[in-house]
Symmetry: C2
Subunit: 440 residues, 2 copies
């Protein structure tokens, strides 16, 4: 998942950018090394987080208050956010921001609502009918980190599918009291908001406290402590959205790409933090060089220039012979975000089988999907796109299989079941059919 958490202070600094590293025509044997991501070992963090989880499990609200004082220097009498504070948040926002959030809400809602499936009953053989019913996960928890940037967009990305899925209890924990977060929550129908953060917030939702309801699945980004807490409670049976890692983008650009756009897209990823992963793949040396020039000039005016420059210097631009090689590299990398600034982008994208989300053509920046086009921005990073999908309505839904067999149906299917159960040495399984056939 895109780890949308970053340091507290935007740094206005003139930073001398030394270009992305360019690798020309690498051999296939080099791909693995070139595309490897930095490994992360969170076991040390887990060791520090485990006692926090244990105390919250045992002491509930008292532990939450202690940790808030200890880690955040906040004395919490009451961490339940009053419903009136959530409802009044709207009045504290500018009209422009309100309009933008409402537009994003509408688009994200429309895209996720279309993911609803109608249960189709399948009669596999006469008298044997099977189907799947979709049910919202009864209780879910959302975590939104604090810091200077209020991630209200993530409230929408998690709150909207929870709302459409019909999750009965949606709990939101966030140390932020930014009105945009509360406004986004109110649009999503979330009324249970708690102003707590860190690993103790994850523990509170996993185990429940006197004040905070226990949930079955926890979603949302966070720092390493939050991530470690999610991994630990996952081992105890609480589902989580997906494994986390630094956010990343791969841009595939051919000679039809516009270097200024490509540079802007790379920078929008790089500004997340110095661990952001950026990869440029191109069949054109000219484009790669032009992008590097654009990076220098665009970087100069960015408030978060220092982060971005450092992230870019750790990143790579690959010049490759042809499209086939480009696609092989991109599928091997399995980027969280893949921008395809190439001719016939939609057609070519059919050959991509490993990616979190794909952005087609010159006028589809990643930031559209990050905020407002309608797709979800919680996506598999760190190569997880090989096996995981991003967050969707499915993430908040269970599919329960249901079957109904008539007396005639068990006559039709009975022999098959008995034969197979007997061959697997499970006689009682066969008997469960035999008693029914005898009674028919």
């Amino acid at each position: 998942m895109s780890c949308r958490f970053f340091s507290q202070f935007a740094i206005f600094a003139t930073y001398r950018f030394k270009n992305m590293k360019i690798i020309k025509y690498p051999n296939q044997s080099e791909y693995k090394a070139i595309l490897s991501r930095p490994t992360q070992d969170i076991s040390v963090i887990e060791e520090r987080v485990a006692p926090i989880l244990k105390r919250v499990k045992e002491e509930g609200d008292i532990a939450i208050r202690d940790f808030a004082l200890k880690f955040d220097n906040v004395a919490l009498d009451n961490f339940t956010v009053n419903i009136s504070e959530i409802q009044n948040a709207e009045s504290l926002l500018t009209e422009d921001l309100k309009t933008a959030i409402k537009q994003a809400y509408a688009n994200i809602y429309k895209f996720h609502e279309a993911q609803k499936s109608v249960p189709e009953k399948i009669e596999t053989i006469a008298g044997v009918t099977c189907w799947r019913k979709s049910v919202g996960i009864d209780k879910v928890g959302l975590y939104i980190p604090g810091g200077t940037a209020p991630l209200f967009s993530t409230v929408l990305m998690l709150g909207i599918p929870a709302q459409i899925a019909g999750c009965r209890e949606v709990v939101l924990c966030t140390p932020s009291n930014h009105p945009a977060i509360y406004f986004a929550a109110s649009l999503c129908g979330i009324s249970k908001v708690f102003r707590i953060g860190g690993s103790q917030a994850i523990a509170a939702m996993a185990y429940g406290t006197e004040t905070i309801p226990q949930v079955y699945k926890i979603f949302g980004p966070g720092n390493q402590y939050v991530t470690a807490a999610k991994m630990l409670v996952n081992k105890e049976g609480i589902a989580i959205d997906m494994p986390a890692g630094p956010s990343e983008v791969a841009v595939y650009a051919d000679e039809t790409a516009k270097p200024a756009f490509v540079a802007a897209d790379l920078l929008s990823q790089a500004e997340h933090g110095i661990d952001s992963q950026v990869l440029l793949v191109s069949t054109s040396e000219t484009v790669v060089e032009a992008v590097n020039q654009e990076l220098s000039s665009q970087l100069a005016v960015l408030p978060r220039a220092e982060f971005a420059a450092k992230a870019l210097e750790n990143s790579q631009a690959l010049v490759v012979e042809n499209q086939e090689i480009a696609l092989e590299i991109l599928n091997q990398y399995a980027a969280e975000h893949l921008i395809m600034s190439i001719e016939n982008a939609e057609e070519v994208s059919e050959k991509i089988y490993n990616a979190g989300s794909i952005f087609l053509g010159n006028y589809t920046p990643e930031s559209a999907g990050d905020y407002a086009s309608g797709t979800n921005h919680t996506l598999p990073t760190n190569g997880y796109a090989r096996a995981y999908s991003g967050v969707s309505l499915d993430s908040f839904t269970k599919k329960i299989t249901v079957q109904n067999i008539t007396q005639a149906g068990i006559q039709n299917l009975g022999k098959t079941i008995i034969e197979m159960a007997t061959a697997e040495s499970l006689e009682a399984h066969a008997n469960a059919v035999r008693v029914r056939l005898a009674n028919n």
Copy 2:
């Protein structure tokens, strides 16, 4: 997931069965304790498994051969199962078993094929089009344990959705060489079969060896060592089907239930092993008593009677006042398998929101779903049904979001993105839109 692994020897023994424990009209405050499952701590097993994984990662095939000799007392020269052995398996089966397996294959295929979704393109606002494309996970691994019972049904349950999803590489590891397993594999189009078992087989698929391809997601049941290995490789980024636990059934029976059928269903769960979980919930004391009598008589003739009897003695029958209470208890328990032997079962089942799979009415035994009705038997157990679904086509598929924005589209959406990005202090995200608007 139903942990379909059990001890090696079926025991023909006369075992004196002492009835299920009956709890009449429990208070709501008691539900939690009554419904609690035995906790499992696999950390000790994990410590024993970790060095095995490490050796396979470092030494590949050599380590696989050493462990086969050490743990299974098998000297493996070549653990690749020859394609001719897979193709010839059919000739070693009885006609009846072949017919049964083919019938099950057809039903399971039909049910899972209906889970395919057609990507629908959504124009969220003019010029902004988003959709999801389904792609089979490129490389998946299936594990089927050994023992006396050849779990060829599980080969079908995992192999069929992998086949429909279009997974390019499907690897099957199993220490069994039973022809029914090879026949099921060949029906599912699986040609890469390796005769290895245990945690080393999981390691081989997670890391790859000289012989065994690395996969992105691993499916299948196994003993505690296999389970621990799956949990450990999952932490390293390999996806797994779902967390494992002892198999379980809850039967909800009213006065229309047939005690002989209910008893047969409870026994078919109980025969899996002494840790199997069985729960009977009924509004009728008469039915519960009749079921207990049936259990005694049916148990007497079962080959696996001793396991079943022990499992049943650890189990409970709850007599409750009314349907509302029964449903509350069943939703709280979140059974892997829920049999509803009640009047208007389908209508009432609408109120169930926590279960892995639901079996309606008197003629729908769990064993139908275990083998041949069409639904998948790999289901969330141990309460995981609160947040997890069973295995389906989705489990072998990723949904990649795709978006295509036109020049007009970015004009329509641009202001919203810029407004939100600026409010989240992500200027480069806003710039990625600004450069495109300027160029329009």
